[in-house]
């Protein structure tokens, strides 16, 4: 896997999570004040940085085959889960992730809570809301940085990709002071799901002792193959949904008449 591919995979995955975290920090900032929200967000990023800094060197010390087997299996399971969610959302089976609706819900809840000062934090509710939001969404970022980075012995590069995504999305969110609803979050999630699944399968198989035909070039078939599978499933779900809608529409005049 080239450094560029590693950077793109981690950057895209972290962009999805950063959009979700930014929505929560914006709600905390607008409802409770920017200082407390910023403290919470920075504290969570600091915790995640410590986790990556502590686990990164430990993971890279594990023999490559064992690391690829374990990390690849985790990535594969994690990636299929992302892809499955993205397909179900794109196919209309489950609702799309609506950043605007989530933002309005968080904002309404945050506005109702009573203010409480603790130490240098002007508003504890705003701090914990931002802290929890960034920490929860950021755990997936840390997981992706550690798995991709340790496998390629490039944790600094994976961390830089995650940092770039967080800075870019954070700056965009702060500039518009609104949830980044226009980011095609599900399309990104689909793309990242394909990448996580493909790289996970590739590394897990290598770690288990399999040898891919064409070595790394097998990824050029594996990744598009998984993407096509996901697209076919999405198309199938949409066609099924349209057929169900037609049946419902055809049945409703009959029901009205009776």
């Amino acid at each position: 896997m080239s450094a560029g591919a590693l950077f793109i995979a981690v950057f895209l995955a972290c962009t999805v999570e950063a959009v979700e975290a930014t929505t929560i920090v914006l709600a905390a900032g607008l409802a409770r004040g920017w200082r407390s929200a910023a403290y919470g967000a920075v504290a969570a990023v600091a915790v995640l940085t410590v986790v990556v800094a502590a686990l990164g060197p430990a993971l890279t010390a594990i023999p490559t085959d064992a690391l690829r087997l374990v990390i690849g299996t985790f990535l594969l399971v994690f990636g299929v889960q992302w892809l499955r969610k993205a397909v179900l959302r794109a196919g209309g089976v489950t609702a799309l992730h609506d950043e605007e609706a989530i933002f309005q819900r968080k904002l309404a809840t945050a506005e109702r809570a009573a203010p409480q000062r603790r130490g240098t934090v002007p508003d504890w509710y705003g701090f914990t809301l931002a802290f929890q939001g960034v920490l929860l969404e950021g755990t997936e970022v840390a997981f992706i940085v550690l798995t991709f980075g340790s496998n390629q012995h490039a944790i600094p590069l994976a961390s830089a990709a995650a940092g770039a995504a967080i800075l870019l999305v954070g700056a965009a969110g702060f500039a518009v002071r609104a949830p980044l609803a226009r980011v095609p979050e599900n399309a990104l999630k689909f793309l990242v799901g394909v990448m996580l699944t493909g790289f996970g399968a590739f590394w897990a198989a290598e770690g288990a002792g399999a040898r891919w035909p064409g070595s790394d070039a097998a990824l050029l078939v594996l990744l598009p193959g998984i993407a096509v599978l996901g697209l076919l499933l999405t198309a199938g779900l949409r066609r099924q949904g349209r057929a169900r809608d037609r049946l419902t529409a055809a049945a409703s005049p009959t029901q009205q008449a009776s």
Partner: protein, 68 residues
């Protein structure tokens, strides 16, 4: 303390395993079979793509069927 450990365990489960544990189990079994077949003279690289090809559509259609 017990509540926090349970909450952490639930979070990790949701993070890694997600909504369909059968898919996670199926993939883990496919990795184990790949490791076993790799010790023989037969090719084993195709097992994980085959597992994805079987498990992802199965899980998606199962969920879609339940929610229809």
């Amino acid at each position: 303390m017990g509540r926090r450990v349970r909450a952490l365990a639930a979070f990790v489960y949701d993070l890694v395993i997600g909504d369909d544990w059968r898919v996670a189990l199926g993939l883990a079994m496919a990795v184990a079979v790949t490791a076993a077949v790799s010790r023989t003279a037969f090719a084993s690289w195709w097992l994980l793509p085959a597992a994805i090809l079987a498990l992802l559509p199965w899980s998606v259609w199962r969920t879609a069927g339940r929610r229809a």
